[in-house]
């Protein structure tokens, strides 16, 4: 692996991944929607290109063929907030992913690495359970899972290696979307009460630099047509994560559990296992949850001060 194309390169996980590839001495073509990047900084080995991934015809015209060997796909509209419920958007994301896969093949890439999610497992469980009524929040995971299903057949058919790393939950400095860790930290900063479900569901959170490293290792060493869970190796009930975060960031706060009605199902801890990525790719997570949330909290405080 020498030269890579990364879509969604200016996003939260995408931008950290670009930095990691550059630090490893790779040449990166960074694609994203903005005219100029918000997160990415200039680098001699990085070229930024404004690109609408739903128009792969234009993409193919703009990018020289046979220059890049690996295509890493993060671009996905609506991965947080209410946009997760938008099935038109999520279906379009899935279709865009397949088109990018085909474009990657045409550009001469031999590997296509796409960001999956652990929610694909929740979707599977909820769909096959008799009488279950999954909430609209599942639609994002459904979109990802549909993309996964379609890509696996299409990749096999057109002859490109598909690799599917699945993110449990990424968090860290720079995350702007309203997702669990940073919304909870914002509440701590604003002195708002911390109110949760019973939080008995199994969970995992990985610091964003560890996620970026995992993508690099999967792209380089992952086995074709395999999926790899990216986790912290310490998956456990959500409540334990919350208590660790509160202890690290707001020792005086008293989180309330069970005040939010909760009807969800649980994913067994075995699903969170990261044995495959450790054995095949040599991945070891480095940042503890306490350390990661502390870093994120310090950054959020700085952002609030600037405002």
């Amino acid at each position: 692996m020498k030269n890579v194309i990364i879509t969604g390169a200016d996003g939260f996980v995408g931008s950290y991944t670009v930095k990691h590839f550059l630090a490893e001495g790779k040449k990166v073509l960074a694609l994203d929607m903005g005219e100029s990047p918000r997160r990415l900084e200039p680098h001699p080995n990085m070229q930024y290109m404004q690109c609408d991934i739903s128009n792969t015809k234009a993409m193919l015209e703009a990018i020289p063929a046979n220059e890049y060997d690996t295509f890493i796909h993060f671009a996905w509209a609506g991965s947080a907030g209410d946009a997760r419920f938008d099935y038109n958007l999520q279906m379009q994301n899935a279709l865009n992913t397949v088109e990018c896969l085909k474009a990657a093949k045409q550009l001469g890439c031999s590997r296509f690495v796409c960001a999956g999610t652990i929610m694909e497992y929740e979707v599977e469980a909820a769909i096959h359970e008799q009488g279950s009524r999954p909430g609209m929040g599942y639609i994002y995971g459904m979109g990802k899972h549909i993309a996964h299903c379609l890509c696996k057949s299409v990749a096999a058919n057109i002859g490109i290696d598909l690799l599917w790393p699945m993110i449990t939950n990424a968090y860290g400095v720079g995350e702007l979307s309203p997702r669990f860790v940073n919304t909870t930290l914002r509440k701590i900063i604003n002195g708002e009460p911390l109110q949760f479900t019973a939080a008995t569901q199994n969970y995992d959170f990985v610091y964003v630099t560890d996620v970026a490293k995992a993508f690099f290792l999967v792209a380089e060493k992952g086995k074709p047509f395999c999926e790899y869970m990216i986790g912290s190796r310490h998956a456990r009930p959500l409540k334990e994560f919350i208590l660790e975060m509160v202890k690290a960031c707001a020792p005086d706060a008293k989180p309330l559990f069970g005040d939010v009605p909760y009807t969800g199902t649980n994913i067994p801890l075995s699903i969170f296992a990261i044995d495959a990525i450790r054995e095949n790719c040599g991945f070891e997570p480095e940042v503890s949850f306490a350390e990661g949330t502390r870093r994120t909290m310090d950054w959020l405080k700085m952002v609030e001060l600037k405002q």
Partner: protein, 422 residues
């Protein structure tokens, strides 16, 4: 005149603060605009009837609070809560969600169907507002017909305008099995959040404050008109002026801010974002003992103005003359939203219409208004109240009590708010 500690308000929080300072060997002067102590824990007396001002019972587990209450009025009357709900003129045991038995089969089926069909959510999910919380908790039918209707009556807001952190144990969260069981039999276990409600034998709720009031240095008829933090002086409507080192204020935050000049815009903007309910208590004196046997009941029907009804005579027989009884109905609305006649017609009149009381049994009715009843948990509350309280603390004004902390404090928590001052 100058004092070290000036306490604004002789309600339960202000008296608690005076009590705490005295215990710590400090002196304090309490100033109160009314002619007596108690504030919202006080009462109205007329013709041998006594009506509390929106306060009801104590169910505190706090030892310090219980010791003060016991010193004030000895052993209290202990009630086992048996609240009921009035829904479409039917009596339903409280909480309605797990006591659906009296409802029609059709309505029970709708409730249970929607309860079963609640969407599955992720463990990290936090509902955006109280309406969403209710729908997730109870399913759509129950949410729309019970708590969402009640929210409008009690909180003067749509459920979607409220946050959810205040809910806690105040709303019972039954399992599906409990809901189904409660739809099949009237014989359900008591699931109210307090197992016992206590009330003084004599003197109304206010009597619980006596031991603190007895040892406090209180001046009455002192209505604050201006606070000058830079000169550390407070002016009163009667022309008095008192200097201070430190203020403990139980006055509502908006009143405190209004009485200070040169408040920064950011603090003024914040105080304007704080919202509270106000309301009328419509008290009824009856020459019969024949009233519903419930200490209190909730009313879901929208054509009846009252959200809740309490019986002062069931709280303690000392609240009424021999052979009589009393009810007090609570209507939450803006001041002058209804005329006195509309208030009486929409409350007492409805009870007469339904045959719950008889017109000829009514000795008198009394209408009272409380401008500050409860704080409303709208979106900006936490941020806004922090800005206001932090700024006041910088001016050596510590704020205490329900409207000083601007929190949903029960009476014992309001007392603790005063007792815990530094």
């Amino acid at each position: 005149m100058k004092v070290d500690n000036l306490i604004l308000g002789a309600g339960i929080a202000g008296l608690g603060a005076a009590y705490a300072l005295r215990k710590a060997g400090q002196t304090a002067l309490v100033v109160e605009k009314d002619a007596t102590y108690g504030g919202l824990c006080g009462n109205i007396e007329k013709d041998g009837f006594r009506f509390d001002r929106f306060v009801h019972f104590t169910f505190t587990q706090n030892e310090e609070v219980n010791a003060i209450f016991k010193a004030s009025c000895g052993e209290l009357i202990r009630h086992i809560p048996n609240p009921y709900n009035l829904y479409h003129s039917q009596w339903i045991k409280h909480p309605a969600q797990n006591n659906l038995f009296p409802l029609s089969t059709e309505e029970k089926e709708s409730i249970i169907k929607d309860f079963k069909e609640r969407p599955v959510i992720d463990a990290t999910y936090v509902p955006k507002n109280y309406e969403e919380w209710l729908r997730l908790q109870f399913g759509n039918y129950f949410a729309e017909h019970f708590p969402m209707v009640y929210t409008k009556k009690y909180w003067m807001k749509e459920a979607k305008e409220l946050r959810t952190e205040w809910v806690g144990n105040r709303v019972y969260q039954p399992s599906l099995d409990e809901v189904i069981a409660g739809s099949q039999t009237a014989d359900t276990p008591m699931t109210y959040y307090a197992k016992e409600m206590r009330y003084p034998q004599k003197g109304g709720y206010k009597a619980l404050l006596k031991t603190m009031a007895d040892v406090a240095n209180i001046e009455y008829g002192m209505c604050v008109t201006a606070i000058c933090p830079s000169e550390k002086k407070v002016q009163f409507a009667n022309g008095r002026e008192i200097g201070y080192e430190k203020i403990y204020s139980s006055l509502p935050l908006p009143i405190v801010i209004e009485s200070i000049q040169n408040v920064p815009d950011v603090v003024r903007d914040a105080v304007n974002q704080l919202e509270c309910t106000s309301g009328y208590h419509i008290s009824v004196a009856l020459n019969t003992k024949n009233i519903p046997p419930y200490l209190w009941w909730y009313i879901y029907d929208e054509d009846i103005l009252a959200a809740r009804v309490y019986s002062p005579s069931l709280k303690s027989p000392d609240n009424v003359p021999e052979g009589c009884s009393s009810l007090q109905m609570e209507v939450y609305c803006k001041e002058n939203e209804y005329t006195e006649q509309e208030l009486i017609d929409g409350t007492v009149g409805k009870l007469v219409e339904m045959g719950i009381i008889k017109q000829e049994e009514i000795l008198f009715t009394h209408v009272g208004f409380e401008k500050y009843a409860n704080v409303i948990f709208t979106e900006p509350i936490y941020r806004a109240r922090k800005i206001v309280r932090d700024w006041l603390a910088d001016q050596d004004i510590e704020t205490i009590g329900r409207f000083g902390e601007w929190d949903y404090l029960w009476s014992d928590q309001s007392l603790l708010s005063g007792l815990k001052i530094k």
